[in-house]
């Protein structure tokens, strides 16, 4: 296709992506160097019946005028990145100096908001992703053995957790595990502890969110693996059987290698999606015990005073995280492409 025709076909889509995905990233980068204006203070003389005192007051008009004049705020350089809410260089070096053991240092760093969120996000991503793959494969192998009539309804039921809106799926599970919900109340009876609440303890909250993540994403892995299973050549499997491979060996040495490309695909998608985890934290109201990077940004932006600078700095750091996650995949694609081109 000649360049001109290509351009004519692609421009609307290209323009949309440039305007609303590429430029916003630039806008985020810009905003991250600025911080909200300080309130303009004014000395006001307060005269009582006996004497006059001067007090400092917020000059609302001047503050508003300043905001309208420079909506970005005032230039802060890398200040937002290094402050306590983000990379917290000063605090980290202080903790480093004061810590007597490595464990102590980690514990200290973990208390800083950004690192806490980063830790949760990474833990969530790297716990949920492998579990999703394992469960997805097991369910696909199981469904593949089912008689034909039951396959359709099983796939229908299996798709639901993935298709349903994440916020809604989260709420449905939350209402069940809540202290008065069916699972929560049953757990209280089992452990004979009327105050038992999954929300009150950090480890339980984390487990709850991760269980939600696995529940939500397993159908995706299942469907992809199930479709892959239909294309595994039966003669290879038969050959393995004749050679005396056990069922486990058939899976391990024939099916899994055959599905390697699918596994890479699922891993890539899951890493991208789990890294942005936000909805379950909102629907489980788990922010007291577990915060993700996306949640900090969401929180900065949804308050009455929107902290654009802070949200933008966290966003930039999140984008950096995504880039690091994606690098191996991109390098591999680039190599494959060059090999093909040669």
């Amino acid at each position: 296709m000649p360049h001109g025709t290509f351009a004519r076909f692609i421009w609307p889509s290209f323009l949309a992506m440039i305007l609303f995905i590429a430029l916003p990233i630039v806008s985020v980068a810009m905003q991250s160097f600025f911080v909200e204006h300080e309130q303009v203070m004014r000395e006001v003389e307060n005269c009582g019946p006996f004497k006059c005192t001067t007090v400092l007051q917020v000059d609302l008009e001047a503050t508003e005028a300043l905001k309208a004049d420079a909506p970005l705020g005032r230039y802060n350089g890398l200040g937002t990145y290094t402050n306590r809410g983000h990379l917290a260089f000063d605090e980290v070096s202080e903790i480093w100096a004061g810590a007597d053991s490595f464990g102590n240092f980690i514990a200290g760093v973990y208390n800083l908001p950004f690192y806490k969120a980063l830790f949760f996000t990474l833990a969530y991503t790297f716990v949920v992703t492998p579990l999703v793959i394992v469960f997805g494969l097991l369910i696909a192998l199981g469904v593949n053995r089912l008689p034909r009539v039951t396959k359709g309804p099983t796939i229908f039921a299996s798709l639901l957790p993935m298709i349903v809106t994440p916020l809604i799926g989260g709420l449905i599970l939350f209402w069940m595990v809540d202290a008065d919900g069916i699972i929560g109340a049953t757990l209280q009876i089992i452990f004979d502890d009327p105050d038992l609440s999954l929300k009150a303890s950090a480890p339980l909250t984390w487990i709850m969110l991760m269980v939600y993540g696995v529940w939500h994403s397993t159908p995706f892995a299942f469907v992809v693996f199930y479709a892959g299973l239909q294309t595994v050549p039966s003669d290879t499997l038969e050959a393995a059987k004749i050679d005396g491979a056990s069922r486990f060996q058939q899976v391990r040495y024939v099916i899994v290698p055959y599905m390697m490309p699918l596994l890479v695909f699922i891993t890539l998608m899951q890493l991208m999606d789990n890294f942005r985890v936000l909805e379950p934290i909102v629907s489980f109201s788990a922010e007291a015990k577990a915060r993700s990077l996306s949640w900090i940004i969401y929180n900065d932006l949804s308050g009455q005073d929107k902290l654009f600078g802070s949200a933008a700095a966290t966003s930039m750091l999140t984008i950096l995280g995504v880039a690091i996650l994606l690098t191996p995949v991109l390098i591999k694609t680039w190599r494959d492409f060059n090999r093909r081109a040669v």
């Binding site: 076909f9 889509s13 936000l278």
Partner: protein, 293 residues
Amino acid sequence: MASTASKSPRLLTWFATSMIIFWLMIAIGPFVWTVWGSFKVQGDFFSKADWRNAIYGVYTLAETGGNFTGNGYFGAWIQEEFWRNVLNTSIVVVFTVVISLTLGTLGGYALARSGYRYAFWLLIAALVFRAMPHITLVSGYLLPFFEWNVWGRLSTTIVVLVAINQPFTLWMLHSFFLNIPKDMDESAMVDGCTRFQAFRHVIIPVMWPGVITTGLFSFLLAYNDFAITSMLLSSENQTMVPKIASFLTQIREQGNVMFAVSAVVSAMVPLFFLVLFFQRQIVSGLTAGAVKG
């Protein structure tokens, strides 16, 4: 050896079947439970004393005189005007799907037919864009949108959702168009069609299966989105998902959990039918990206 060989399949079948049954209970149980419970009163659905209350509806019978009650639905739809949010969601979803499919088919077709290197790089760029967490993009939108005074409108949200949908739509339609033989449009061009005429008269009639599948996923993205709709819409323009989220804060103050439960069930129903009717397309769409990407 012979005994293990004959025994293991039965054990395996037993194990596999029970695993699938267990999975089905986990997968569909919560939905069944919530749909059933949404017709009860709060005392039954959140019953501390006895979970079976939710099944029999002890308090529901005592409070309303019937075994089932639509009070939650009445409260959510009429009292809290949830129908407005349903309407907003319909507008946003319909426009997002139509516009992103229009842009996506044109772009995906071009990407599938261009043999040049930049088409490949464009797809890679789309993949990178696909990985951007939506909330980071939102933090880029908010300030400019406030400045230009376009914040809070449905149209702004539609445009943003279309753009965010593009990377995925392009990938998917690109792989569908690769499946349509090149000879078809090329022979039309040999017969004197321009590229656009070939697209119009040869490709468009055969592209619908792919477009429907892609449309389903655009629908899901627009329908299920929380990050963008909750940040970019003013409270009177809210769609269902952010409205449900705002129910939650309201609940903490007033305690009408059943409103939220009913709203959640209402928002689930269309998705349920979507899976029911388009199961095959969803499965093929999920795997199309994997097999060809």
